[in-house]
Symmetry: D2
Subunit: 433 residues, 4 copies
């Protein structure tokens, strides 16, 4: 897919509406992320949990067609058959193509999907410029942009898994930025018991955009505890491996141990058996001992913490610490697409909490569930988050593959505890002495 | 297994130590529960989650041998090979026979297992009478009694499933007590936001017996909410079915819906398709519309609550309501072994919370996890509870199959959300207006 | 199951009809085979391919009830519900309890099944003595006797697997006969190309009893070839193992190799890893190097033959050799229940074919299929054999667990190529030079 | 994949060696078959039994590289990593990429595979023109051409399944030839018992090319029987369906019935539920009642024959009839790629056997096995056929997707009885009256 020109924002004399600019920019970013991929690469689905890059490009476009354009009078579907293909899991609006079979969709072609994107973009931008969207459609458009950013991260994690699954194990890109820094020593920062306001006001209606699962804002009693000042590093995690962490049943959840045995886990996904190299979006590279460890399942993160005599933080402890912190960090826009060690330069104290945002998602000890008073988004989009509040764990903070500006302190990511293909690591916590 | 005489407490002149009496009574109760079963019945394992009655009898005995008798100098194992057979999941003390294969153990025979019980009982009672147990052994003995009571309930739920799995579907007993009562109208009782002390002090060392997962006692901010005054009844649940609840995807968790489709659920386990009869430990009987509905999975309980515009309570809301309430209720000792409607007679108000204890376990919306500051039991028994804190939901309050005196307000039962063979129902909750 | 008295033949003054005597004897034999088993042992089903001993006892009785007694006017079913339980696979007469769940049938009890046997026996013998059976019922009774003998062998192979699956690995009996003999040297006996009459005339109507799959008798051109004078011995097979036979992909069928890898086969079922002992119905015993190897899958037998530069015989080569030979051999009635080496004493020549009958079933290279002109048994019993003519291989000659008098030269046994729990070995063949 | 120019035969002044011309022609045919496919289409693997078109193109090329070019001194592998990717199942020469994961190979790209083909073709043709191949290499080259033709047919059946698996169900080509003819009445042609020479002399060494599984030529006694003069038609098969054939357990093999139930079969693969249309390589089309039915499993073919009171022919009956017949028929070169009814024009008698070759492969009642005296090809190519002689059934005669010139009377195709995605139908046979 050699794409020279991404869909551009309109170039009329009148200044474009800001939302149109933002829309165009986010949409173009998806195209840019897919541009190193051939049409063949963009079709591969290496496991049921992952989707082909082409499907991500089409599904996010379908989202705008279905939830923005189709709310307009006289809308003619781009292709009625595609509704079935590119619906993901919104069962209240009709059946969807089975997820594990997305890799069979050689048709429509990548070229057709790109045309679909261009057409939908043209129409959406036209509506934005004409101020033609009512409140509901505008809200759904905004949700669609956040949705698209989520899929940008998934596109990266899914293509990483796909390329790794190919015995040739090619790099996604050869020109990624590389940085390194010496990890600062691990320090603890304590907090006393306190009541904390957690979450975000319900959107739309009460403040800035947030997903329904972040609402309502509510009070939580957070006990006294301490958090580590940075995520666990590769060097630290390697010690756990070398100390026999993957062979000590007493460190593991029962289900995690069974999985570890069944699948022969001996180290994080993407590491080599010598514990010296790891597969990255830039190909195989030497393991950086200072970088945050990632591609851990919840079970591995939890076992490591237990081995350290510590534990994972709750999502409330994490959010209490992150609230009010600037949203700085290494995100996807840094074009590194791999975590790196943090420089402590400029930090006022050595217990300042580093790398809360970006680099790696941090597994918490909180199971994904509803906040008190939770209400799903209205209408069909009620299926967006609520129906997955079962058997998953919360991760916080975003990663090196998360688009800048996408996360916030109240953002709740969630995955099954067995999931290893995300950029997920951990930060230690412990109870107050 | 026609057993006329259960192991009796000693009849020496000296008055027995109270713990010896309690020990003998609980041990005898297991025998009594198994007495309606033939040796063949006691061998059946109808699914991997269930265990044969004989295995329950042997495993609970092994627990006392391993954690009480084997702590004594000079202990000679009853049969060294049985350690492997009757260890359940304590991997830190050695490998165990695979759980799904417990039904293959025709040897040792039921008679041999009963002899094993008698011998272990004789030795344990001897030690108790001689005051020969140190603190650790005494604690492990006490834990073993609570452990035995848990298996008494499982013995009943497992044999119910086994007999139902036989096309002949025989009753476990024909002489069970039957009672009925008209369910009182459903009322809501509200509570304001408050900080509540939840859990129990860590045992041993700080108070009465409690499992490690109930500790430490800690403060939780419970939001304003309301609880229903009684569990949901069969009649109410039947309305949900008749209104299409099992066919409406929007009411279900995603995983629950998939399971409902794959297994063709149309009603609670043990109901007939006509919604008129249910299989009980006393055989097929007419459905009592006033009795609490039971044999629901978490997914069904959750879907029902959503259909009602309500939700499940959190375990903290439940415990806040139950703390300080008398532990009255229909337990296994009532020899009914099936839930029944509650009489409101003598209740001061119509918002009094009825049937918190006994009748049916109540699914909560709380995922099973560690309390802040949680420490597993010391030593090998650390595997008792902690390693299952993943992918399960909390149930509260005990059931008609729970031994009287076993539960308490802080007691945390837990099962996978798909589990239907327990006596599990629900009580509605809702957010404060 | 301590059974002092097996159903006896009638003791009236009039001499019993010979068929009644034979019926009573065969039926009593099943009881005798089950007599070392407790009711618990008789319930165990250790894999879907095997059935509990109790089920064998009941199913064979149901066969007589359904196909003999139920043909009589006024027959009242012993228990209408049992028809479903003890039908095996005769779908044309109604649904049957799922095979993998036979081990759940604690009810009816073993005692009840024995009562069922006694009652059916009483009625059948009464009819026989009264000469009350018409031709069809008589034929079905005769078929029932052969059917019962097949299940006698399966009862032994299934209980062997069940006892071995128990970690205690108890013996079925401690009083089995043991014999040994030095295996005579392996010699080849050649045969020229010839047209051979294969099979048996269709029964009933044309000769002695034979299964439908042995008919019609027909002409086959058997090419020039040679057969080994005896089955392959344990010592010979051990050489194959020690030479790396289980690690050499070139010796194996593709499907067999995959199975060998997936299940970690390194030797015949029931051997220990040291290749020194084997589990028998008499418990663990030293491997007799002179005895025929057994408990091989087809894949192992075939790989061994290939390693030897030889092949398995076709079923026609085998039958051509066996026709006209006396039906001598070590069968179940010798009460050894394990193969042993053959003594060559009294053999006229050293190329005489030894142990064609008894000791071990011999895998052939013939896939199980229909003879030209094959007609299944009439009526519902047409499901007896024909519908399994797919994906299975022919074995010939009977084993140490086959009742004496059950097999014949034209007898065609058949099993899936993966089956290892039968007493199955091999005899080598080769093409003529 | 818009390929204007297929690799051309050399155009030097000297006349090319005939084998080089044949080589170039067969190789170009593969390219032509793939030319309607995009690179995305060529990557799809819709089930583990099927392979992507790109993989077929690469694997057949690897076959020439490995078994022809690599036999030459100084050969440098095109790409050493590809040996692993494009080996199919020749385990004696090294491990191979797992078959179910062939659809993940976005790299190498289709373009690279086409370059690989061109380079290998250039080198092979160079060697042929230079007469540089010794006997072994020449034989392996010839085998490679037959191998390529087999994959040409698989490419078509696999892409048909892939396109059908896409909910859009696009046609492979819109310009296929369509023909129709009225099926002539079904007639029987009898044959007396006779000894027939079956098979082909072992190649190389004894005659024209044949696969090892067709050898040695040997004598078989074929009983008296009759064969139908043409394959079963769609109209006839539809009657079977409408008469309840898919619901009558007595017509089916036991394993076939289980599969039919589990997968919900109600008609041949690719038919619509109304029994009016079928999916073809030219897309959905009206069912031609006169055309031979195809896309049947063995189980369906066998059940149909039983319903007709007939049976499938043995492979010997079929070969006896086909030997000496001209190899006329509708093959892939007719560019119809779907079976059609045969015209009886010019047939001398109405019992002449029509459509023995081409249109549809005909399931036989012969399990795939070794002929007496069978020897696999020498060396690594011994894995070509022999190791699959288990659990499969023989099909004879070639289909509308078989390259012209590929089949012969002795040709033995084989598939698992569950396979439905091949162009497989049936011809009835019956025993002589």
């Amino acid at each position: 897919m050699n794409i020279a020109v991404a869909p551009s924002p309109p170039t009329t004399a009148a200044p474009p509406a800001p939302l149109a600019v933002r829309y165009a920019g986010i949409r173009a970013r998806s195209i840019a992320l897919a541009s190193p991929l051939s049409a063949e690469d963009a079709l591969v689905q290496s496991m049921p949990d992952a989707s082909p890059a082409k499907w991500h490009l089409a599904h996010t476009t379908w989202f705008f067609e279905r939830f923005v354009l189709a709310t307009q009078p006289g809308h003619v579907p781009f292709n009625a058959d595609w509704h079935y293909l590119f619906n993901s899991y919104y069962q209240s609006i009709g059946p969807a193509h089975a997820r594990p079979q997305r890799g069979l969709l050689s048709r429509p072609s990548l070229d057709q999907v790109l045309q679909y994107r261009a057409l939908v973009d043209q129409q959406v931008i036209g509506l934005l410029q004409a101020n033609a969207l009512d409140a509901q459609a505008s809200h759904q458009l905004l949700l669609g942009l956040h949705h698209e950013q989520q899929h940008q991260e998934l596109l990266l994690t899914d293509i990483k898994h796909a390329l790794w699954s190919n015995p040739l194990q090619p790099a996604y890109r050869d020109d990624l930025v590389r940085t390194s820094a010496t990890a600062i020593p691990l320090r603890w920062r304590g907090s006393p018991e306190q009541i904390v306001e957690i979450g975000a006001p319900a959107w739309p209606g009460h403040g800035a955009f947030a997903y329904d699962n972040e609402s309502p804002r509510h009070r939580v009693l957070v006990p006294a505890h301490a958090l580590a000042n940075r995520p666990v590093s590769n060097a630290e995690y390697r010690q756990f491996i070398q100390a026999g962490g993957y062979r000590d049943v007493t460190l593991w959840m029962s289900e995690g141990w069974a999985l570890c045995q069944a699948e022969g886990w001996q180290h994080p996904l993407y590491w080599d058996d010598a514990l010296e190299r790891e597969f990255t979006l830039g190909g195989w590279q030497a393991l950086d001992p200072h970088a945050p460890v990632c591609h851990l399942s919840y079970f591995e993160a939890d076992a490591y913490a237990r081995w350290q005599g510590a534990r994972l933080p709750t999502e409330f402890e994490w959010e209490a610490a992150a609230s009010g912190q600037p949203l700085h960090g290494h995100f996807a826009d840094a074009d590194r697409l791999h975590p790196a060690g943090a420089s402590a330069a400029g930090q006022a104290t050595d217990t300042a909490l580093l790398q809360l945002f970006g680099d790696v998602w941090e597994w918490t000890s909180s199971a994904y569930g509803a906040y008190p008073g939770f209400r799903p988004f209205a209408g069909n989009l009620g299926e967006y988050n609520g129906k997955f509040m079962n058997g998953q764990w919360i991760l916080r903070g975003g990663s090196c593959a998360t688009p800048e500006g996408h996360v916030r302190a109240s953002y709740r990511n969630f995955f099954a505890p067995s999931a290893r293909w995300q950029f997920a690591g951990l930060r230690l916590a412990r109870d107050a002495a």
